[in-house]
Symmetry: C2
Subunit: 425 residues, 2 copies
């Protein structure tokens, strides 16, 4: 039996471009694996194998479309799709059929991707879990909110998948499932047709099993050739940022941190603790408050019309967010803006920052997808992040760390991540 589904996205794309592999054969291989594994993983909110194969055949019959030609792409069910139902992880929208593709889906289709299926999201990409299980241990959460996308890529169901992050919804499930997650700089990937949470922080990104694969998807989403052309650097100036909430890191994450710093230090032109803004201890609280406030406003319709069909946890979050006074919101915004300026200056001294991705390995049990606290700072600041899945906890579940780049330098943080993964191997 072939295992095309185990090819990296980059390798599969090369073979398809050389007509050594068809999009249909690749899609079929993925579907066979999905058929075997989906009952245990539950990564999909919607899957129509025949429709996916038809898309693949149509691509095989035509000219090469772009960087993703023939690659099966999972799409988090928070993105509108014109040909597949989109429920945003909520019973309110069960069976909803959008009139159009979300812009990132359209960009992926234009680049030749097969929109293979819709992957499970938590409720409106917030904290109430969907059905997905961690493919590495079904008793554990895959993380959230991009749960199905991370799980599908980790389990070799699909080579690539789209996600979104407002607090930690790409980096954390990547960490839980042991794949590369990439959150671009704020404001670089269009969000038309993506259900909003907190507009000042929502970012579209994705998952791959290698940095090269994540970069392939990023090049399409960002429409930026530099993402492919930037050579991995020979050395790096690395700023270490355990951050103000490091006390919450569990044993396996601390071990992983020490392992990474030990392995990287000999390769680095600089490796030292990066100085943080004086009052950065409040960063997670400020991010959480702004997220709750903005999400309450984005979901104004659902709260007004369907409050009883929201989970109690989400309802409580929306009510807490709506209760924050406008004056307080402006103070939070002003601090965030100052922190953006102050951390921007760090990138004169460091090429990238190293930071924890999650407090621990994937949480046991499904209802809690985990705490995004280590991702909140970078989501608030809008900086590009790459999760590096290079280690295992004592349990065998994956752990890792994230690299954080300068705003707008997505190509550089991805190139640095490629090199860092070599050094950590």
């Amino acid at each position: 039996m072939n295992e095309w589904n185990r090819l990296s996205a980059a390798e599969a794309a090369r073979r398809i471009a050389r007509r050594e592999l068809t999009a249909e054969a690749l899609m079929r291989s993925c579907l066979e694996h999905i058929a075997a594994r989906e009952p245990a993983v539950l990564a999909f909110a919607h899957l129509d194998p025949d429709a996916a194969l038809a898309q693949a055949r149509a691509l095989d019959a035509g000219p090469l479309r772009g960087l993703l030609h023939g690659l099966p792409l999972g799409v988090k069910d928070i993105f509108d799709t014109a040909d597949q139902p989109t429920a945003y992880g909520s019973p309110i929208y069960a069976g909803h059929r959008p009139a159009a593709d979300a812009a990132p889906v359209a960009l992926a289709r234009a680049a030749g991707a097969v929109i293979a299926g819709k992957t499970v999201t938590t409720e409106f990409a917030n904290m109430t879990a969907g059905a997905t299980r961690n493919p590495l241990n079904p008793a554990h959460s895959p993380g959230g909110s991009s749960s199905g996308s991370a799980a599908a890529v980790a389990d070799f169901m699909l080579p690539l998948a789209l996600g979104t992050q407002t607090a930690g919804s790409i980096i954390r499930p990547a960490a839980c499932c042991g794949v590369v997650g990439f959150k671009p700089s704020f404001g670089r990937v269009p969000r038309a047709g993506v259900k909003p949470n907190a507009e000042s922080m929502d970012v579209v990104g994705g998952f791959g099993r290698t940095v090269e694969d994540a970069a392939l998807l990023a090049a399409v989403l960002l429409d930026d050739r530099r993402v492919l052309d930037e050579a991995p650097p020979d050395t790096l100036r690395l700023g270490l940022v355990q951050g103000p909430d490091w006390a919450q890191a569990e044993h396996d994450v601390r071990t992983c941190w020490d392992q990474a710093v030990g392995a990287l230090a000999p390769k680095l032109a600089r490796c030292e603790d990066a100085p943080l803004p004086a009052d950065f201890a409040d960063v997670a609280a400020v991010q959480a408050a702004l997220q709750a406030h903005e999400t309450a406003r984005s979901l104004a319709h659902e709260y007004r019309v369907h409050a009883q069909r929201l989970s109690p946890a989400l309802r409580a979050l929306l009510e807490a967010g709506a209760a924050i006074d406008a004056r307080q919101v402006e103070l939070h915004r002003a601090r965030a803006e100052r922190w953006r300026r102050e951390t921007e200056a760090l990138f004169e001294r460091y090429d990238v920052l190293l930071a924890p991705s999650a407090v621990d390995e994937a949480p046991e049990g499904l209802p809690f997808t985990g705490d995004p606290i280590f991702c909140r700072p970078w989501s608030l600041l809008g900086l590009p992040c790459v999760h590096l899945p290079f280690a295992r906890a004592a349990s065998g579940l994956p752990v890792g760390l994230q690299l954080v780049g300068r705003q707008g330098e997505d190509h550089r943080v991805l190139a640095a991540a490629r090199r860092a993964m070599d050094w950590l191997a």
Copy 2:
């Protein structure tokens, strides 16, 4: 015959709150006026009088909901509405029925507004005109892109209406139709369910016939009591900003400028030319490039699937925007960010800035809704703007100027606008 439709929004709200006027009577009065005038003005993309009256009766039968209780509100057809078709000014979406209200519509409904109808927008809120005529002279454009909203409010069809601005789509139609237009600070009003153009600049705002009316709507959209509570100031420190493209101002706008400065100067604590960033001459070009680039990405689906149903002008804009190199886009973003910082510092010395709204009175003919060049700087910088409709051109068509406030100080620019309108009366 009653003329409740001529009441200001604030006065109508007071009478409804005291149960001296019913929402139904007000809506009926507006509908009678619409029936008489709509054939000449063509402000509406969708209007269902019975449904509007049913909403009004339901409000009359219940408790006071909020600041907009019983007020008929026009909604630009770029906002999704769950109970009314939403076509975004494009034949692609003729008859489209969204699953949900856009967040600003939901906020207005929660505050008691009657969603009276959908108002005409240009194609996807870009430059290709809809059918609406200037209610003051049907041979002239109402301006765009929020054409129907501005025209409906100007013609006493409705007391209030929602609009959006990316370049000049609120301030310019307000100027063309002689009403108050308010564009809030960037990022303060949620945009869920509003068709995106350029996400770094798209802002939801609205129209009223007085500053007080516009502020009533703004208080709801911003969820900020300060908008109502801020007292109009006794004096102002005013920075004058004709801006780098002042040479394009036509005679009537120059006359209006001189008239305003002459009338205001004696009242002001400071009144002087405000210093602009050194390279601000490029601001309109940078705004236009970023807008084209981001709009091309937001409308990726429509371009991919429906290119032949886009107007040639929009198709050309999307192609020009898509052709801008990622490196160039980053340079534009960096300049915009620097200009934001540099202009922020102006507000240490000035409470508000005075700037032109449009190069001339409403253009003759319908196809061209006018040049937004004088609005581009403030849209790029994300600053709150209020159009002051205080003057007439020689032709009798309205002209006016805009006040520009500090980011996040929407309440202060609205209070300043109230006072300025007194001084200019």
